[in-house]
């Protein structure tokens, strides 16, 4: 029988530390596979975030830089401007990209930096134990919203970064996908592929936001977590290509 699943060359053959049912593992594989298929590995420089994916460089088999929490797009800007022929992408959580790094996110996008951004929205801070993120949905319980996020109590509304960025002229591609079904995984791969091709074609800033399950913080089984994305999260964060 022919071998159907081949591990990408851009992914190291090691165990990851991610919880079962976590979206990060699936996304690492998707990113690595797109890079392989586009033949980009030899000129790829990734930028890892501070968050659960902080040691992504232990899993990816290409050059990677660390960045301070929220500064991945600034680091990526420095790399890409100096090495315009390399392929540079960031991989960031919602705390990293939408909270502490929001200024970097908006300004990098607004400068139209020729970069690809993989934005992992799990509606919480995974790494620090499940606090509220800017993307936490109304009513969602986290370590710092123990009674559920309440906008009327000064806790704000879920921030829709993709919609915000789509308004900027420097941004050429914005899509929101998820990884909770095989169909959605394929769609995610398609969108990330497009976001990479845009960079090769020097089109400007591309971002793919992925609604990503975090069963551990959500205190759900992997199956319940996937269901919560499909039933609750997408009501707040509708899927689809927002700008192209």
């Amino acid at each position: 029988m022919a071998k159907r699943f081949v591990s990408p060359q851009s992914l190291k053959d090691v165990d990851t530390h991610y919880c079962s049912g976590c979206g990060h593992g699936i996304l690492h594989r998707i990113v690595a596979s797109v890079i392989d298929k586009l033949g980009l590995r030899d000129k790829t420089i990734g930028v890892a975030p501070v968050g659960c994916a902080v040691i992504a460089y232990d899993y990816w088999n290409f050059d990677v830089s660390e960045a301070a929490h929220g500064r991945a797009l600034a680091v990526a800007t420095g790399i890409k401007r100096c090495k315009p022929d390399s392929f540079v992408f960031t991989y960031q959580g919602d705390g990293d990209l939408a909270s502490i790094g929001l200024a970097e996110t908006i300004h990098t996008a607004n400068r139209g930096e020729n970069l690809t951004c993989v934005f992992v929205n799990n509606a919480c801070y995974g790494m620090t134990g499940g606090q509220m993120a800017p993307t936490t949905v109304v009513g969602q319980k986290t370590a710092t919203t123990p009674f559920g996020r309440n906008p009327r109590a000064g806790e704000g509304w879920p921030l829709k970064v993709s919609e915000l960025l789509a308004q900027l002229p420097g941004v050429c591609f914005v899509a929101r996908t998820t990884v909770t079904s095989p169909k959605d995984v394929l769609k995610t791969e398609q969108c990330i592929r497009q976001a990479c091709i845009n960079q090769i074609e020097k089109k400007g800033f591309s971002i793919v936001e992925i609604l990503s399950p975090c069963p551990t913080v959500w205190q759900k089984t992997p199956i319940e977590a996937a269901k919560w994305v499909q039933e609750e999260m997408i009501k707040v964060f509708p899927l689809g290509v927002i700008k192209e």
Binding site: I45, E66, A67, R81, A103
Partner: protein, 355 residues
């Protein structure tokens, strides 16, 4: 001022612009900065003269500027940022990361008054911050303090070579007077650094035909951060031994010694001249590297001195290093912060009252 002059040709430039030009001449290919007085002329100079030579970015903040520099440095590119005190506080995040990641870059601080927003006048109040790491974690950065525009040029050039050789951020600690004033200066063909330029095999260039390179300051495997800190400590020690820099003036037979750096050393020099004329045996010791502090040299200079007078545009910061270096000497301090600076007459009066 882009015509390539011969080395001995003098030009008239402000310290801020001269430091920018020095960076360009030594191969700086990336600059990111955020406006702040009193260093704006430097950012503007880079915006104008980096065209065709490298990348200039006006960043959205100092946090972003230093992270852009970090990315540029990670790609193996000579890179620089500049700011003044409040902006340097924000840059400490990235400086700590770069020290941990062992990335070279040059950071210029044209100091102004603090704390907080303070004011835009000359000050030397960031000595503690600069010479003790400045950000979080166990680290140092070499700190070079120019006292003339001409020296600022030489130290910026040196800073790039040092940064690359030791794989560390290097700080230029100037003050508003040095940044703003214009005086004749020349551009040497290269820095006085005496060590080789090493290949940047660690840089991120794409993992073609080699194992992937990773730029990181995170070490979570048991014992790995302890080992990393030991390695860094060995590097700091190597720098301490090789890179102490200083200047001295009329110290032969001196009974008294003034210690000052940066623009304050120019005033101190005048004090020495006037007091010498009055028959007082006094000399000047001027540290150029504030870290590593020139401990051996100051001990030598002060060997037969009775009183040491430290003069700073601060409430007393470098004086702590002088006291650490000279535990058995009588060390006096005279300083002012917040815009006013210690002037010749008042320093003379202070020296006379204490000797």
């Amino acid at each position: 001022m882009r015509e390539e002059g011969r080395e001995k040709d003098k030009v008239l430039m402000s310290g801020n612009e001269a430091m920018g030009e020095a960076a360009l001449r030594v191969g700086c290919k990336f600059y990111a900065g955020y406006p702040i007085t009193p260093q704006n002329e430097l950012t503007a100079y880079m915006a104008r003269y980096m065209v065709g030579k490298g990348v200039f970015i006006q960043s959205e903040s100092e946090l972003a500027a230093i992270s852009m520099v970090m990315g540029a440095a990670a790609s193996g590119t000579r890179s620089m940022t500049s700011s003044s005190s409040p902006g340097i506080s924000l840059k400490q995040e990235g400086i700590s990361y770069m020290a941990g990641c062992q990335l070279p870059a040059v950071i210029i601080n044209v100091m102004r008054g603090g704390p907080g927003l303070g004011n835009i006048n000359s000050s030397q109040s960031d000595y503690f911050q600069s010479t003790r790491g400045g950000g979080h974690g166990d680290y140092y950065t070499p700190v070079l303090a120019p006292h003339t525009v001409d020296e600022a040029i030489r130290l910026v050039m040196l800073a790039f070579d040092m940064a690359d050789y030791y794989r560390t951020p290097v700080l230029i600690l100037a003050d508003a007077i040095i940044g703003q004033m214009m005086e004749p200066a020349s551009f040497p063909a290269k820095s006085e650094f005496d060590k080789p330029r090493l290949p940047k095999s660690w840089a991120l260039t794409g993992a073609k035909d080699r194992e992937p390179n990773v730029v990181r300051s995170l070490f979570i495997k048991e014992g790995s951060l302890t080992q990393h800190n030991e390695n860094l400590k060995n590097k700091w020690q190597q720098i301490r031994e090789a890179e102490q820099r200083y200047d001295q003036y009329k110290i032969e037979g001196a009974q008294y010694l003034i210690v000052a750096y940066g623009s304050q050393a120019r005033i101190a020099r005048e004090v020495v001249d006037v007091l010498r004329e009055e028959g007082i045996n006094i000399g000047l010791f001027r540290p150029i590297s504030l870290w590593p502090y020139p401990v051996t040299a100051i001990q030598r200079a002060a060997a037969s001195v009775d009183h040491v007078f430290v003069v700073e545009q601060s409430m007393g910061q470098m004086v702590e290093d002088v006291r650490l270096s000279l535990p058995n000497k009588k060390v006096h301090f005279y300083g002012k912060a917040g815009g006013d600076i210690p002037r010749t007459k008042e320093i003379m009066e202070y020296v006379k009252s204490e000797m």
